[in-house]
Symmetry: C2
């Protein structure tokens, strides 16, 4: 029997990274590691689901970084289809219930009351749950989420079976508009636009319905407008400022469309892409500290605030935004992996901290790339910052180089200090990852004037002689002088 037991709740990125890292640092004689996952899959890439649906990723298992068996071979006792139903902080234990016998089979087994498992170190990595508004018809057949591999599999199975149906219309025949199958995506954030691309790639006629004034509310409206225009040009019907009031169903109870206050949009399939919220009911019931978004609050070592031996990371936690000075919920696999590493290092006896995020995100819809880091104008205003913003047009490569594409960059800089506050990019191929330049600048507090001198990689296939980020920095610097 090991000297200590580490219990992990949640078998995805944060939890299993923590488990793996702790295992590398401490052997089984020292540390027993037990992980509970209520679903059927471990360590999968939720962010890859749109590309699986779109047919760019061929197989479900390509999205699985490490299977339960692989984790077990590495000395992590990972229990699938096993749910933690209660957390007893004072007693240092969790109540565990096996679903379907804990085998991953849909055996229809009855839940028992569960058993208690004690811990010396507890890792909360319970992830997030998709937003699912209580609309009429929301639970109808043909309405899909895309948060888990189960969701993805259900969606693909439904699509394939419908596409095989005689007279069902022909995906992939763009000339035959009447015959094309129709998808409605509710929500035009990252998941929404990525799912729009997936259905375009599957040959569907796509409608995206969003309540915001522009798609991508993670951008300022002027940049979101570019996304709107580009999506319309791609043939994606993009409906703004529209609140969905009902999922319309047919006589068999299947979804046949989406209704807003003003209109109806027929659909063969409806996908919900409304974002996610931290899954923290266990933690809330146990009285652990939660932030404004409902995510767990931690210290810099990813320890839950006020707790000695409870840690939290990934989509169930809030993180400090280094630019706004506030904690926020940023559900991204890249953060979850970092959190897991840090938690595992600390439990394993090493030392690591997570300083915070700067709000970087990148996405694409077909060949349009969308990226942002730092604060939007409204976010800067909300935390009391005064700023200038500039927008510039440039290209991804030298203007004369074949394959050069347009890109627009918006830069926000603080008055007086001149410090960079945020950057947004909307452009075509090769535009998006330039956001990393600004991300590092935000981590290090560079002024836009300092940024004008950055020694960035230049050659005609890679950049204009003034990289677009430098062009934006020069304009922002001039705007500050004029302000």
């Amino acid at each position: 029997m090991a000297a200590e037991r580490m219990v992990v709740i949640g078998g995805d990125a944060a939890g299993m990274s923590a488990a793996s890292r702790a295992r590398r640092l401490r052997g089984p004689e020292e540390l027993e590691i037990v992980a509970f996952e209520r679903g059927r899959f471990s360590s999968f890439s939720a962010c890859g689901i749109p590309y699986w649906v779109g047919g760019e990723v061929g197989a479900r298992d390509d999205l699985i970084a490490r299977s339960p068996e692989e984790h077990r071979e590495r000395g992590i006792d990972l229990r699938m289809r096993t749910e933690v139903t209660e957390l007893d902080v004072a007693g240092g234990r969790v109540r565990v219930v096996e679903r379907d016998g804990g085998t991953g089979q849909s055996a229809g087994g009855r839940d028992d009351g569960g058993r208690w498992v004690g811990y010396d170190h507890l890792v909360l990595a319970t992830g997030a749950r998709p937003v699912r508004p209580p609309l009429p018809g929301i639970d109808a057949e043909g309405v899909h989420g895309v948060q888990t591999l189960d969701d993805g599999e259900a969606l693909i199975t439904a699509l394939e079976s419908a596409e095989d149906r005689p007279g069902a219309g022909a995906p992939g025949e763009p000339g035959k508009r009447e015959g094309r199958r129709r998808a409605v995506v509710v929500g035009a954030g990252y998941i929404g636009v990525e799912m729009a691309e997936a259905f375009v790639n599957r040959g569907y006629q796509v409608t995206v319905v969003d309540k915001g004034e522009q798609p991508m509310s993670t951008l300022d409206a002027d940049m979101g407008e570019l996304v709107y225009e580009a999506m319309c040009e791609m043939g994606i019907e993009t409906v703004r400022g529209a609140t969905v009031t009902e999922i319309l169903t047919d006589e068999h109870g299947r979804a046949r469309g989406v209704a807003t206050e003003d209109a109806e949009y027929p659909a063969d399939v409806v996908v919900l892409g409304l974002g996610v919220r931290p899954e923290t009911e266990l933690a809330r019931a146990a009285g652990l500290p939660l932030g404004e978004s409902g995510g767990l609050l931690t210290d810099l070592a990813m320890r839950v605030r006020g707790q000695e031996n409870i840690w939290a990371g990934g989509d169930c936690a809030e993180v400090l935004n280094l630019v706004s000075g506030r904690t926020q919920h940023v559900p991204l696999g890249t953060h979850a992996n970092k959190h897991g590493q840090i938690i595992g290092s600390n439990i394993g006896g090493d030392y690591a901290t997570f300083p915070g995020v700067v709000g970087t995100a990148v996405s694409k819809v077909c060949d349009l790339e969308i990226a942002r880091t730092g604060l939007l104008e409204r976010q800067a205003t909300a935390v009391g910052l005064r700023f200038v913003s500039v927008v510039i047009e440039s290209t991804t490569r030298a203007g004369y180089y074949p394959g050069t594409k347009p890109m627009r960059v918006k830069m926000i800089a603080e008055r007086r200090s001149g410090r960079l506050l945020g950057l947004q990019i909307v452009g075509r191929e090769n535009a998006g990852k330039r956001v990393d330049i600004a991300a590092v600048a935000l981590h290090t507090g560079l002024t836009v004037e300092q940024m004008t001198a950055l020694d960035l990689g230049y050659a005609p296939p890679f950049s204009p002689v003034w990289d677009p980020v430098l062009v934006a920095a020069r304009k922002a610097s001039a705007a500050l002088r004029a302000a």
Copy 2:
């Protein structure tokens, strides 16, 4: 008559940027701006020449950012084919000689002794000249440099005329090896590999001969080895450790190949890609301060050291490397443009400085991308630094995403401080520009441990969940702890 006169020597990036910026800040009644260019072209992209030769850029004029006429329309008195032959610092004047009547025509006009032109502000932007070793045959027909648009035009004219010749072999027919025309490129640095790509794209059988142990001596040998292997796989004959002793010529005095100490390489065309040296003979004769490479030494405002009203920028100047603490010669258009902006700002009554470079460069040969920033191992050792280095393998996108490509990253970090010292990348499409992340980190003195927490853009089409730069930072951080 204007109150002051600004004289610019050199009509390319640095000089004309300085002129343009000064003109925007001060009107013609305040500042007269005269620029002298001894060649036939102004403001051209020398870095674009390989792509013009390779056929990716269709026309010479695509490489010209601004013609002499456009400069003159903006109030800059740009005199083409006009050479400055002497600089009288004490007298505040330069001696100017018009070549071919200063018209750009090859009229065979005789040089006169020139006339003196006084200046209140002088900008030295004389650029660089290609290295041209005094080998037998070096001046033969069929031996080409690729430094200026004139060079490029001469090369393309020669290639087109030879390719049209009956029985000259058929470029672009890879099956017919004997019939393919052969190019030998001397030198395997940036220009050399880019010219190799250009000739591959033109359908030539290409040999690159280099005296170094690996191509790309701007990389460490282990990373250069990857470039060597990739070039061989592309069918580019790559000869290492070979010193060219002679350009072989035929009975008509035309180049027919290249001889090294050990072998002969037949060629229909020979291109010299041996790099460039600062063009500073005028400055040297005038007693201005030059660095080890022969480039002009300036202060942070780009004023020549010890001078009140003489400025220098672009390929004729040395710049401070912020990582090594030493000045060096870095002939890159992106720096030249920055220098010009800074000089023009300062002469124009505004204020700007150039803090220095971190040694960033990016290039490609066919689909292989090559990038570096900071110091190589030998450069770090040469300035007294002790360090660890690590190499990692990763991919440009999520492993499961279509089009993901391998990339290798080498990272060098200082012992004790943990500070990043350098990064090198060799990989396929989308690998190279990641060097910018490290460039910003070098500007700001980040440690590799700090880099492990960078909030970089992540989505499957853009990056693995751990960006390759983060993977390298984690490994470097671990190596430091173990050191």
